[in-house]
Symmetry: C2
Subunit: 383 residues, 2 copies
């Protein structure tokens, strides 16, 4: 197995980008990563694209071929990878395997979602849940995560304010991220008093509908210094699944796939939670950010709310979480999120994260899930 390095990273502005098309988004992200990595487009010998549902958002499947054509990269081998909101991390993981296997040398793994070309994104997003047992019964993702939040509050005493604080910290970080969808701060009171979406979750507990794209360029670790003075090395790339439905789980306050993927990642990297300097977690709803820091092992089960309240997840705290602003405030273009998380960690480890830099970050992690955790992927990257 060849070791793999990241030599380029890029992200478009995230937001409601009504004047930018799907093709423009992914092209901008791809060109950005090419530029950042000092390779030429012609050097790329495979492409993976994470995308959840261009079929439902813009009536376009076969998007990898579309992108190769639109960007002039034919005859590059290219494939779309889909696992709902974890599509981006799985595109990264396939790219890593393509390099590790020796099948390909320089690979671009990207992610893109254009979500604002439909009147209501909810039916498309709901296809990440079990259509027969959840979506058709009216269970949207806010409602599913609201049930998780209620149970977490009941079992572990997590408070409404602790949930709100997760969003507040995300926004504080996003305020320093010019590519974030919501680069401004909010208060706990604002979260508590925003519209209720699904009790106990309010509007400001929920990640937004977002257009955006991101891209990463990979190569064999042994070649990385040819392209950059600051390669970032892939120490672990793992993935696991859990039931797609909530009702089949013994405990809905634990995401089993996250736990399995994290355990494998620490083993693969030969590291522990103590070694991780910063982590990008999948906070599609505030409660899920709290589950993530528990299931990744940064705090004990049930202690996530208190940890957030005490500020240990702030930039400068014990384990800075979502320095980018997270899904809540950087934005959540489904298939692009996993790649954007990896891009953020790359910038943090290079020391290129500007005003949101986590001081001295040398090892970082990404955590990306699909649905309510039917899929989870974890990556550990290091300087």
């Amino acid at each position: 197995m060849r070791d793999v390095a990241i030599i380029g990273a890029s992200q478009t502005k995230f937001g409601e980008l009504w004047d930018v098309s799907f093709r423009q988004l992914i092209t901008e992200a791809g060109l950005g990563a090419i530029d950042d990595s000092n390779v030429e487009g012609a050097d790329l010998d495979a492409m993976y694209v994470g995308n959840m549902t261009a079929g439902l958002f813009i009536q376009q499947e076969h998007i990898a071929a579309l992108i190769a054509d639109h960007t002039g990269l034919n005859p590059i081998p290219c494939a779309r990878i889909e696992a709902a909101c974890a599509s981006g991390s799985l595109a990264l993981r396939q790219g890593i395997m393509a390099v590790a296997s020796g099948y390909h040398d320089i690979v671009i793994s990207a992610g893109v979602e254009k979500m604002t070309d439909v009147v209501d994104a909810t039916p498309a997003i709901a296809t990440a849940s079990d259509q027969e047992w959840e979506a058709q019964q009216g269970a949207t993702f806010p409602s599913l995560y609201a049930m998780i939040a209620k149970r977490h509050m009941y079992e572990h005493g997590t408070t409404r304010e602790q949930l709100a604080k997760f969003s507040v910290i995300n926004h504080k970080n996003a305020a320093k991220n010019p590519k974030a969808q919501f680069p401004f701060e909010i208060t706990v009171d604002q979260v508590l008093n925003s519209s209720i979406v699904a009790d106990p979750l309010t509007l400001l507990d929920c990640s937004p509908v977002t257009d955006g794209a991101a891209a990463i360029i990979l190569c064999p670790a042994e070649d990385a210094k040819k392209y950059t003075d600051t390669p970032i090395y892939v120490k672990a790339s793992t993935q696991a699944s859990d039931t797609i439905t909530l009702h089949d789980r013994k405990d809905i306050t634990t995401i089993g796939s996250t736990k399995v993927a994290a355990k494998k990642a620490y083993e693969m990297a030969n590291l522990t939670t103590k070694d991780i300097d910063t982590v990008e977690v999948h906070d599609c709803f505030s409660i899920n950010g709290i589950l993530a820091i528990e299931d990744l092992g940064f705090v004990e089960k049930g202690q996530g709310g208190i940890a957030v309240e005490e500020g240990i997840t702030e930039n400068g705290g014990e384990i800075p979480v979502n320095p980018s602003g997270g899904l809540k405030a950087r934005g959540h273009p489904l298939g692009a999120t996993g790649i954007a998380q990896a891009a953020e960690i790359v910038w943090q480890l290079r020391g290129d994260a500007g005003k949101r830099q986590v001081e001295g970050a040398e090892i970082g992690m990404t955590h990306n899930i699909g649905g309510t955790g039917g899929t989870a992927a974890v990556h550990i990257l290091s300087r």
Copy 2:
């Protein structure tokens, strides 16, 4: 890079299976492959599923997680791979890379499509073309391939009867395949006199709308004999892209992606066309079967029609094409097709193909494309 072998293969009956659900189809195929390979479900350590558009056909994305849950395979890492009608071959290819890289040992690569749960499959299928430049202008796939056929007839003198003969041979083979959608023979006259779909293509030049699934189990070649006396070895797994749109090509009678993928495959396997004993090609329309045998190098450009007329592609001929019945007569459940092709070659090389056995087949090939060739994948397998 580790060498990879196939130790199990399975295919459901293909057809308009109105009493069988998406979940049932993929479960049947998966269990069949597990049974065929002498592994247990718990031995599988990764899953790839080729599927074009469950989002549009059954309002379900995140299908890999759905399948892992429904089949009790959690916490297996699982991903859906999509490249329109080439999704199956790309799922096979990702599985091969997962084993080759050392990331995973025993991998199931499957494909599934449930196409008959919608009133009209055309809008979903059209998402494999360029939405802005083709589909929204009314160009359906029959019309795109009809243009290719007309041009091939004009440039190379291919006749209407030669196109028809491609379908006739497919049906002759399918008549011996109990899992085929149309296991019966047809005549050239029947093809010529069936309803015109897009001139010059008639109904019997066109592959059908099909429900079906297929699965393959992979392991490191060095371990294969633990599971089976007749492992089939992966000699090449290659892929390329061409413009997704027809209008951007210099020559619409050549599928550039097929040519590039085939050239790489012969190089990777260190073989030539002369070494291939049988091939499953992507004949979504009769003309595409003719393009395939040309672009794969079995006959000169322009000579495909004559070759078919002369019978060299028949079982027993110089290069038996589509012993299964092909997309036309075995059926074409989009994301399952590439895996079903590989399953057919596995059975042929094992000598397990029953009445449709290609005598003495030792090396076989699959050729699977997406759209009008925006994607092409080629696999070479050997005893």
